[in-house]
């Protein structure tokens, strides 16, 4: 009887087993970071809800990117182009809605479409031409940044619209901008955070409730075996990168709305933070394992870490050293988890 065996396991081994799961490891890391925050609470700032609300807002854009990154990494890939595609989407969204005055749904839909197309393009290059994901998305990272600069003319797309005679016309930010950068529930939660949570749930449905999810894990675990068992590997890879592009576009729209402008430089180096979030959460870069909940925890760990350093006004050099050390520490913890578990 399984239940009987479970009873006989004893407390110590059961705790050991608990602690061996990546989910618990991530929760332990998060608790440690929270504990640091409670000690170094900056005159009680850390103990106020506002601080947590702001942290959740800040991490949302990274978190949305990390959702797509998780799908790609589970399939044993990597997407370095997320920051650039975010920048491109932010520019396009600002351009469509502020300069062309298109209706909100058209701007959103158009930006999302471009995001999916750019992602799927990377996926297509990887799947059809057997280019390594690192190289293909590195190319896309540079290419998409170029497109963003070309479309915007190298300048931020803001509420100042240049008229043909050289003067500026100042337009009001469209309602969609104000909506996305607002807060609901009595000002206690930002819309971008709600969007982040929605993306997490969306990914959970894909990974845990559909064939697509099973296929992605299978491809990440052993691509050849997946192919032989009849999984459409090429199509699934294109889908994974296409979805990553979709999340980049969502993040780009959030970024543009919060900054009230489309910055062609937006999102540079975000790919690194995003990969860090996924890996700290406990999803392995080798693919085939991991979950979206780990990525949610990874986002919180990175978000709280940044927030604690920021409210304590820690100097830049200490911040970099601490962040680097904690990233490696958290990942080492996770590595042991997999070995033991």
């Amino acid at each position: 009887m399984p239940a009987e065996r479970h009873m006989n396991m004893g407390l110590v081994s059961r705790l050991k087993r608990w602690y061996a799961s990546p989910l618990w490891r991530a929760i332990v890391s998060l608790s440690l970071v929270m504990f640091i925050g409670i000690i170094f609470n900056a005159d009680g700032t850390f103990l106020q809800w506002d601080t947590h609300r702001d942290m959740l807002r800040q991490i949302s854009v990274y978190g949305i990117l990390a959702c797509g990154m998780t799908l790609v990494i589970i399939s044993a890939g990597i997407d370095l182009s997320v920051g650039s595609v975010l920048g491109l989407s932010a520019v396009l969204f600002a351009l469509f809605s502020m300069h062309f005055s298109l209706p909100a749904w058209v701007s959103v839909l158009a930006s999302l479409t471009v995001g999916v197309l750019f992602g799927a393009l990377s996926g297509g290059v990887i799947a059809r031409f057997n280019v390594q994901p690192f190289i293909a998305t590195l190319g896309m990272m540079v290419f998409a940044r170029g497109v963003a600069k070309w479309v915007s003319g190298g300048e931020k797309i803001s509420t100042a619209v240049l008229l043909p005679d050289g003067t500026y016309n100042y337009v009001e930010p469209p309602a969609i901008f104000n909506f996305i950068s607002s807060r609901i529930l009595g000002g206690n939660i930002a819309i971008v955070t709600i969007l982040f949570i929605a993306c997490v749930v969306f990914c959970w449905v894909i990974l845990d409730r559909t064939y697509w999810g099973r296929y992605l894990y299978a491809i990440g675990g052993n691509e050849e075996a997946a192919r032989l068992s009849g999984i459409p590997v090429q199509r699934m890879k294109i889908a994974a990168y296409g979805l990553s592009g979709f999340f980049c576009a969502v993040a780009g729209i959030c970024q543009a709305a919060q900054e009230l402008q489309g910055d062609p430089e937006a999102g540079s180096t975000y790919e690194l933070t995003t990969i860090a979030i996924v890996v700290i959460g406990g999803t392995s870069l080798r693919g085939g394992s991991g979950s979206i909940w780990l990525t949610l925890l990874g986002s919180l760990i990175v978000g709280y870490l940044e927030k604690i350093l920021s409210i304590n006004a820690v100097g830049e050099e200490s911040r970099l050293m601490l962040t680097g050390a904690i990233i490696v520490g958290a990942v080492m913890l996770q590595r042991n988890a997999r070995r033991n578990g």
Binding site: S158, Y168, E259
Partner: protein
Amino acid sequence: MLYRATTNLVSTIIFSAFFIFTGMAQKPQWTIGMSQCNLGEPWRVQMNADVKKEADKHPELRVIFKDAQNDNLRQRAHVEEFIKAGVNLLIISPKEAAPLTPPVKAAFEKGIPVIVLDRRVLGNDYTCFIGADNKKIGKAAGKWIVSRLGGKGNVVELKGLMTSTPGQDRHSGFIEAIKGSNVKVIFEADMKWLEPNARREMESALARFKEIDLVYAHNDPGAHGAYLAAKAAGREKAITFVGIDGLPQEGQMYVRQGILSASFEYPTGGREAIQTALKILRGEKVSKEMTLPSRVFTKENIDKGGEWLKE
């Protein structure tokens, strides 16, 4: 066969188009090489635009632009390419002094006049340096802030990258100006010139301090990020925001919209570079050092084009 015929046709069209165009345009007398260190910053995009705008007024000039994408060695290669191409004059806005001194020196020794824009090179092997003084601007901002606050208040300072000279100078000039007054910096953070970082740091400052009178940011996007953070907290009306750079579509626009109370111009010198280049090419004498004057933009003077800062 068909393939070859098509390529022939295409190349004929391209070549004839090329000759027609070059024949039509007046042949420029002088070629200027413009080596820009990083077009990833709006301020430098503006610098190139200023150079182009002024050069377009003079058909005898042709300017070739190169962007080093924030890489010393790439910029070095660009200067060497310009020397090889035999440009008549070189304008360079170097990324860093030490690595770019040798190629600039090489050009200068080959007899190519060199105008150094904004950031310096080491030694004296160039024709003319054009730039503004960040420390003076920081000081002017500090003085303006002291008088605006009536000599007393709590200030948040959002610093540019503190390993860069503009960041250091905008900080030290400011500190010098507020010394002796009761203006206190209660929170400072390095936002590395980036708006999202500025917003994040400002949120921390707002959470921690209930009384903030003014935000001094080392660039306008930083001040704008701080404004957005204060607005989200419903505290933007109680705080004055001051930035630096004063670009038309950034700082000047924010002042016009009432977001910033003041923006201090950090002039690009693009226009002055072309004017000086023309003088040099015509054989006129120019001074070795040219410090650009700077303006302050406020709600009151923005429509009159700002007010020049006094020395």
